[in-house]
C-alpha cells in the first residue's frame, strides 16, 4: 500500500510538477547509474533537490532509490513519516546517540541490497547556490564498499526556486550536470579531493546568471 502511495506521489505529483512547472535541463543523463548498488553525490540547495534527482531516473527504479538524510531534521511527526515512507529516506542519526563507527551501517546494508543511494555531502542546504565544504562521511562509506560506482551530479536553479527558510515557490529552470562515475581508490583524502575536483568541474560547465 505504502509502495503504491509512493509510486503515485512520484508519478502523479512530483514528476508532472517538475516537468511542466519547473523544467529540468539535464546534460549527460545517460551517465546516471542504470542499476544498483550505486551512489549518487549531489550538491544541496533546496528541499526540491532530492525529489528532482529521484525524478531523473526511470520510474521503475524508484524502489531502489534511497536518499540519505539526517533523522533529527525530519523528526517523528507526520513530516518524518512522510520523509521515511513516501520519499523513502534512509535516516542517519547525527545526535551522537549512535556510536560513530555504526553510523554508516544502514547505508552499507542498503548498498548490499542493491540500492542506489543519494547523498548530499554538504550536510546542509546552506546558502543557496553556493557549495559548502563536503563532509567526509561519504568517503568512509565508499571505503567500506570500494567496488560501488560513485556518480557526481551538480544542480543549479532549485536553490533559486525554493531556497532555505521560505515556502514561496518561484519557478526557475533547473540545470543539471551529470559527471562520469568513478570508484574508490587510494585513501579518504584522495577521494575527497577527487570529489571536489569533479564537482567544481561540473559547476564550471554552466553559465549561471548572477543571483544576489
Amino acid at each position: 500500500m505504502i509502495r503504491l502511495l509512493r509510486l503515485g506521489f512520484f508519478a502523479l505529483i512530483v514528476r508532472p510538477v517538475l516537468l511542466l512547472i519547473l523544467g529540468t535541463n539535464i546534460r549527460n543523463r545517460e551517465r546516471l547509474p542504470a542499476t544498483g548498488p550505486a551512489i549518487i553525490i549531489a550538491n544541496h540547495n533546496s528541499h526540491l533537490d532530492t525529489l528532482a534527482l529521484m525524478s531523473m531516473l526511470p520510474l521503475a527504479d524508484l524502489p531502489k532509490l534511497t536518499p540519505v538524510a539526517a533523522v533529527d531534521y525530519f523528526g517523528q511527526g507526520a513530516f518524518g513519516w512522510f520523509a521515511k515512507h513516501i520519499i523513502g529516506i534512509l535516516p542517519i542519526d547525527r545526535s551522537g546517540k549512535t556510536p560513530r563507527r555504526n553510523l554508516l551501517d544502514g547505508a552499507i546494508a542498503a548498498l548490499d541490497e542493491g540500492k542506489i543511494l543519494i547523498l548530499f555531502p554538504e550536510g546542509t542546504r546552506g546558502e543557496p547556490e553556493r557549495i559548502a565544504t563536503y563532509k567526509k562521511g561519504v568517503a568512509h562509506l565508499v571505503k567500506a564498499r570500494p567496488e560501488v560506482p560513485v556518480t557526481p551530479v551538480f544542480m543549479h536553479g532549485l536553490g533559486k526556486a525554493l531556497p532555505r527558510g521560505t515556502y514561496l515557490f518561484v519557478p526557475f529552470t533547473c540545470d543539471v550536470f551529470v559527471g562520469e562515475s568513478w570508484t574508490y581508490r587510494g585513501d579518504v583524502n584522495a577521494f575527497m579531493e577527487r570529489l571536489e575536483e569533479r564537482m567544481s568541474g561540473l559547476a564550471a560547465r554552466g553559465n549561471f546568471p548572477a543571483w544576489e
Partner: protein, 314 residues
C-alpha cells in the same frame, strides 16, 4: 470539436510538407551522412512534435488552444527569468509576473480587447515596480525593473496576441475563424524563418548586423520576405478574409517583423553570453529560440488586421 474546413485542409497541407521534408532529410542523410544531416533530422523530429502538439491543441477547443498558447508563453517567461541576473529580494515580484500569464490569456480568451491591451503595458508596468520598491532594496533596482518589465512584455504580452487572434478571428475572420487567422500567422512566421535560412545558405553574402547575428544576410532576408509574401498571397485569401494583395502585404510585414524579433532575441542572448536560450527542443535550442520571430510578428500582424479588417478601413 468544430474545426473550419479551410483550416483542416491547411493543416493537411502542412503535414504533407512535413512528410516531404522528412523524406528529403532522410535522403540527404543516406547520401551524405554526418553531423549536419543528423542535426537536420533532429530538427525535423522536433518539428513533428511541435506541429503535432499545435494541431491537437488547435482542433479540440478554443479554450484548450488558449491554455496551450499560455503555457508556451509561461515557458518562454521562465526561460527568460532563468537566463537573466535576478535579485533574491525580487522572488515575490517574479511570482506576480508569472501570475500575469493566466490573467492576460484570460482577457484574451473572453475577448476583452481594452483590458487585454493595457493590462501588462499599464497596470503591471506600474504594479511590479511598486511591489519592488516597497521591499526597499535600491541596489540594482533600475536593472531589475527594466529586465522584469521587458521580459513580461516580450514573452507574455506579445505572445498573448496569438490567443487574442483566436477570439477576434472567431467574430471577424469569416468561415476560417480564429483558427484560420492564427494558423496563417504561425505558418507564415515559421515558413519565413526557414525561407530566410535557406536563401541565406544558398546566396547569402552581405551580413545585415554582423555583430549580432553574422549569418543573417540581406540576400536571405529579401529572398525570404519575397517568398513569404508570394506564399501569403495564395494562402491568405483561403485562411483569412484578406484579399490576395492584402495577404501579400501581411506576409511581407510578418517576414520583416519576424526578422526583427529574431535578431532582437539574438542580441539578448549575445549580451547574456549564451548560444541557445535553453535545451528544451532538441536541435532548436530553447523555447525563446523558437518563438523569437513571433514576439514581433504576432502583435504586428494582429494590429494590422485589427486596424484594416476589424476596424473596417480596408
Amino acid at each position: 470539436m468544430n474545426i473550419p474546413t479551410p483550416v483542416l485542409y491547411a493543416i493537411g497541407a502542412i503535414f504533407g510538407l512535413l512528410i516531404l521534408a522528412t523524406i528529403l532529410v532522410w535522403w540527404i542523410g543516406k547520401n551524405k551522412p554526418g553531423d549536419a544531416s543528423d542535426e537536420l533530422m533532429l530538427r525535423i523530429k522536433s518539428w513533428w512534435f511541435m506541429i503535432g502538439v499545435f494541431t491537437i491543441a488547435m482542433v479540440i477547443d478554443r479554450a484548450i488552444s488558449t491554455i496551450f498558447l499560455g503555457f508556451i508563453s509561461y515557458l518562454a517567461l521562465k526561460e527568460f527569468f532563468s537566463l537573466i541576473p535576478t535579485r533574491r529580494i525580487d522572488r515575490l515580484v517574479l511570482l506576480f509576473a508569472y501570475l500575469c500569464v493566466p490573467i492576460q490569456f484570460y482577457w484574451a480568451h473572453i475577448g476583452w480587447y481594452g483590458m487585454f491591451v493595457i493590462f501588462i503595458p499599464v497596470w503591471m508596468f506600474l504594479f511590479l515596480p511598486m511591489v519592488m520598491v516597497l521591499q526597499g532594496q535600491t541596489e540594482g533596482f533600475l536593472r531589475a525593473v527594466g529586465t522584469v518589465s521587458w521580459g513580461l512584455m516580450m514573452t507574455v504580452f506579445t505572445l498573448s496576441h496569438t490567443a487574442m487572434m483566436l477570439a477576434e478571428g472567431d467574430l471577424s475572420n469569416g468561415v476560417a475563424a480564429g483558427a484560420g487567422l492564427l494558423l496563417f500567422l504561425v505558418f507564415m512566421t515559421q515558413f519565413n524563418d526557414v525561407a530566410q535560412f535557406t536563401w541565406g545558405k544558398l546566396t547569402g553574402k552581405h551580413a545585415i548586423v554582423p555583430s549580432v547575428s553574422p549569418k543573417k544576410t540581406w540576400e536571405g532576408f529579401i529572398g525570404g520576405a519575397i517568398s513569404t509574401a508570394i506564399l501569403a498571397a495564395f494562402v491568405g485569401p483561403y485562411l483569412t478574409v484578406m484579399p490576395w494583395l492584402w495577404s501579400a502585404a501581411a506576409g511581407a510585414m510578418i517576414a520583416v517583423s519576424g526578422f526583427i524579433g529574431d535578431v532582437n532575441m539574438s542580441a539578448v542572448k549575445r549580451d547574456l553570453q549564451v548560444k541557445d536560450s535553453g535545451g528544451l527542443i532538441p536541435g532548436h535550442g530553447g523555447i525563446l529560440d523558437r518563438v523569437d520571430s513571433l514576439t514581433y510578428a504576432a502583435p504586428v500582424f494582429l494590429h494590422f488586421f485589427y486596424y484594416f479588417f476589424i476596424g473596417g478601413r480596408a
